[in-house]
């Protein structure tokens, strides 16, 4: 059956076809939709799936299930791999009995901010085989292969995607079956201290050697199961009359094939689908081809394959010119576009492919002219977003305490909450990594910042990595004010459930109240505010900022988009045009997308209008000095 699937949808289906028994993950672009798609089938599949509190825990859930013999999958974005790394490297030493697949998605071009981290290094440093995805079909096929390899070698396998694979849809051939039906696996764990603990150096070194041996088995497995032929994991193609070669891996395959087709270029190619361990023999076979004199290595991000090509060429004493990043021909940043791949091939073949560049050159002045016309559309909070109220109250509290905005450093954190750095609020100064705002704030204090230092963090981020730094702040008695913007959901990544999410009918999860967590961590000054009631919130924030010690303010109100989806309905607001002076104070303080400003014309004065899509948070009524904004009473 052929279906149009995004890479992430295909990864999810691959896991189902592979008969996965347990799934855990933590959201993060571009990996999130794998879990979202699996979650949608949670009931039907009848297996345990969870959004875990963070990637490390998610990995441990999956690894635990794999230690008792089940097929388990964990999903995360590349940043999550850093969080989970400690446990992953330990499990890589011990291996596992069931199939264990770690799905990780990198983001060349940073479609979602954060770093352009190359996860392939982790496969090397942790001694774990890694398959690198080059098409949506591979997303489905390689997931199944990854489970097969993992079971065969009795160790974890990593499956790596990138944005251009995960977020693009193409036609995928699926079988649509659930692999679990005919394979019921019993839960069983055998006591084996030297394998499952790290309590003696001899055991650790033996485990290290086992892990290294598993790499070899992984290559043997794809050979012996004939996967190379069937699924083109690693594939050589020789072109008899060409002295040029291209070695490539990952998402760049699409643009490479398109350039080769479009300009009718025939070169020798080596596709690498298993990036760790590399298919050393195939690379040797490729390099030993007498015809080949010049090689282009195409891989997004870091020159991982490329440096190995240098090494192997050196061992073979092969004289070959290598074009890539290490000779500064290609760059480390961004995803590789059609134009870039074309240019790289032009360098390889030392020729100019077409006249299309000339058209583009002619277009350049027009494009430059167009550049000036682009209308900036800065990202801001949604209509009714509770974070708007929190930052409005915070800015007002800072002002009431007679500080200037530039006096008070607010460390932002990951998520929708960071939009507080944008206009009109400009409250947040920094953004580092999940939970880091709380630790960084303490460092600023001990570093000598005398004025109050504030950390603003979302609920999911707090659960994920904010608790240890909070305990630390209490323990060290650091004078920091921590605002937890609790909107009940992990909103920015697509509204996933987190431990603080209000109990849902569909799941049997239990809500963990982060106020209790803070109390349990020893915080003595803790308040809960409603961001839709700024007047009270401002007073509470003033006190919290002044407090000599750790203070926590939980600003609690559901994410407006999610509330809308759950059909929460609030009374709407409107502007009394008689009273409105057109001063734009509401707009300049809140920038709610439902505010429509009408400049003065011959027919009417300047005035503000509130669109019918007003969510009804009521915040704007507090900003109007003329009392022009009023609630629309029922039925009027």
């Amino acid at each position: 059956m052929i279906k149009l699937l995004t890479g992430n949808e295909a990864v999810a289906l691959g896991a189902i076809e592979a008969g996965v028994d347990v799934v855990a993950g933590y959201p993060g672009t571009p990996s999130t939709e794998v879990m979202l798609n699996l979650m949608a089938k949670r009931k039907e599949l009848g297996i345990h799936m969870e959004w875990s509190v963070n990637e490390k825990v998610a990995f441990e859930i999956a690894a635990g299930a794999a230690w008792v013999g089940k097929r388990a999958l964990v999903t995360m974005k590349m940043s999550g791999l850093n969080v989970a790394a400690d446990s992953i490297s330990a499990i890589a030493y011990s291996g596992c009995t069931g199939g264990l697949v770690i799905f990780v998605a990198d983001d060349p071009g940073t479609s979602a901010g954060m770093v352009e981290q190359d996860s392939r290094y982790y496969a090397k440093s942790m001694i774990i085989p890694m398959l690198d995805l080059a098409s949506q079909q591979e997303c489905l096929d390689y997931m199944k292969i990854a489970f097969d390899i993992s079971e065969a070698i009795k160790g974890p396998v990593m499956l790596r995607s990138t944005t251009d694979i995960s977020h693009v849809a193409s036609l995928v051939d699926i079988n649509g079956q659930t692999g679990r039906e005919n394979k019921k696996r019993e839960a069983h764990f055998e006591r084996n201290i030297p394998k499952y603990t790290k309590a003696a150096s001899a055991w650790c070194m033996a485990q290290h050697q086992d892990a290294l041996n598993r790499l070899t088995y992984a290559l043997d497995t794809i050979e012996s199961k004939n996967y190379n032929k069937k699924y083109r994991i690693n594939e050589i193609h020789f072109e008899p009359d060409s002295k040029y070669g291209v070695i490539y891996g990952g998402a760049v395959q699409g643009n490479l094939l398109e350039v080769l087709n479009r300009y009718n270029i025939k070169v020798n190619t080596l596709k690498i689908g298993m990036v760790h361990p590399l298919p050393e023999n195939l690379i040797k076979e490729f390099l030993e081809n007498k015809n080949i004199e010049k090689i282009l290595v195409l891989e997004e991000l870091d020159p991982i394959i490329e440096s190995e090509i240098y090494r192997i060429a050196f061992l073979l004493n092969k004289k070959v010119e290598i074009i890539g990043k290490l000779n500064n021909a290609l760059h480390y940043t961004g995803s590789y576009s059609f134009a870039l791949v074309k240019e790289a091939l032009e360098v390889l073949l030392d020729s100019d492919f077409n006249n299309q560049d000339k058209d583009l050159e002619e277009l350049m002045p027009i494009l430059e002219e167009a550049q000036d016309l682009i209308v900036a559309r800065p990202t801001s909070f949604c209509s009714g977003c509770p974070h708007r109220g929190t930052y409005y109250a915070l800015n007002t509290a800072i002002k009431n305490l007679k500080y200037k905005k530039d006096d008070i450093i607010v460390h932002g954190d990951i998520g929708c909450t960071i939009l507080g750095m944008n206009k009109p609020f400009e409250s947040c100064w920094t953004e580092v990594a999940m939970g880091a705002s709380i630790g960084m704030a303490q460092g600023f204090k001990w570093g000598g910042i005398e004025k109050p230092v504030i950390a603003a963090i979302g609920d999911s981020t707090f659960f994920h990595a904010g608790i240890p730094p909070l305990i630390n702040a209490v323990h060290q008695n650091a004078h920091v004010c921590i605002i937890i913007l609790d909107n009940w959901w992990t909103a920015m990544t697509g509204f996933e459930e987190n431990p603080g999410t209000v109990h849902l009918k569909e799941t049997d999860t239990k809500r963990v109240d982060l106020v209790n967590i803070c109390k349990g961590c020893g915080v003595e000054k803790i308040d809960v505010i409603d961001p839709y009631e700024p007047q009270k919130a401002i007073k509470v924030l003033e006190e919290a900022i002044k407090h000599p010690g750790v203070s926590v303010v939980v600003s609690r109100q559901e994410c407006a988009l999610q509330a809308q989806r759950r059909k929460v309905s609030l009374p709407k607001y409107r502007v009394d045009i008689e009273k409105c002076t057109g001063c734009q104070i509401c707009l300049n303080q809140l920038a709610c997308p439902e505010m429509v400003f009408h400049p003065k014309t011959e027919d009417h004065k300047a005035y503000m209008e509130i669109s019918v899509d007003c969510f009804g948070c009521g915040l704007c009524q507090y900003t109007c000095p003329f009392g022009a904004i009023e609630v629309i009473e029922d039925g009027k």
């Binding site: 052929i2 149009l4 479609s111 251009d164 977020h167 693009v168 849809a169 193409s170 036609l171 998402a251 395959q253 699409g254 643009n255 094939l257 398109e258 087709n261 479009r262 576009s337 059609f338 134009a339 074309k342 299309q356 058209d359 583009l360 277009l363 027009i366 494009l367 002219e369 167009a370 016309l373 682009i374 209308v375 900036a376 559309r377 800065p378 990202t379 801001s380 909070f381 949604c382 209509s383 929708c416 909103a491 920015m492 697509g494 988009l561 734009q584 707009l587 920038a591 997308p593 505010m595 429509v596 400003f597 400049p599």
Partner: protein, 195 residues
């Protein structure tokens, strides 16, 4: 080299929905298809982009100067598609404007229709203009702006009209009669420009 459609607009205008319907049509028509979508963060009003590639292509993105059809759902966003128009390719521009806040207070900073027309003319393209919001409102289904555009796209891409209506019926669960009227209205406007 396939049939490449490059769609731009802002969040809330149904750009991605439009792309999905076209992709569904291509599959129904027995063709290969690739779909790329880029939506900003959750909020409304951010730039959106959808690329549909029908036929034998392998890259996920449309290269510059390679879009057989460029569609802008929002006036000012159209300039971002300029680079992709294939020489001789078609361009459909919606007159709808979505103002971010700084434009609301200074609307003179927003490019007018003549400026945009001029720009496309310079590249050799002859844009077709549609006031999709007005048409959709006349049918009293203002959100069907994208379906009006679909009508015009269908004619200009020589898609099969009846088959597209079938696909529309499958993909638009509500108000199907009004949606078909919106579709036909867009189709007729595009027809009118071809004489």
């Amino acid at each position: 080299m396939g049939n490449n459609l490059y769609l731009v607009g802002v969040g809330g205008q149904g750009v991605v929905r439009l792309g999905q319907i076209i992709a569904a049509y291509a599959i129904e028509d027995g063709q290969k298809v690739r779909l790329f979508k880029k939506v900003g963060m959750a909020q409304r009003g951010g730039p959106t982009l959808c690329e549909i590639r029908i036929g034998e292509v392998s890259g996920s993105r449309i290269p510059p100067l390679s879009a057989d059809l460029v569609v802008a759902m929002e006036l000012a966003e159209s300039v971002k598609a300029l680079e992709y128009v294939k020489p001789g390719g078609n361009v459909i521009l919606n007159k709808s404007r979505v103002y971010p806040i700084h434009i609301m207070t200074h609307p003179e900073k927003y490019p007018g229709e003549e400026v945009i027309e001029d720009l496309f003319q310079k590249t050799g393209a002859k844009p077709i203009w549609i006031d999709a919001k007005k048409i959709a409102s006349e049918i009293s289904l203002p959100i069907a702006e994208n379906i009006v555009m679909l009508g015009a796209i269908t004619l200009l891409s020589s898609f099969d009209k009846e088959l597209m209506i079938e696909v529309l019926k499958k993909n638009v669960p509500r108000q199907i009669e009004k949606n078909i009227s919106a579709f036909l209205a867009g189709y007729e406007i595009a027809e009118g420009t071809q004489i």
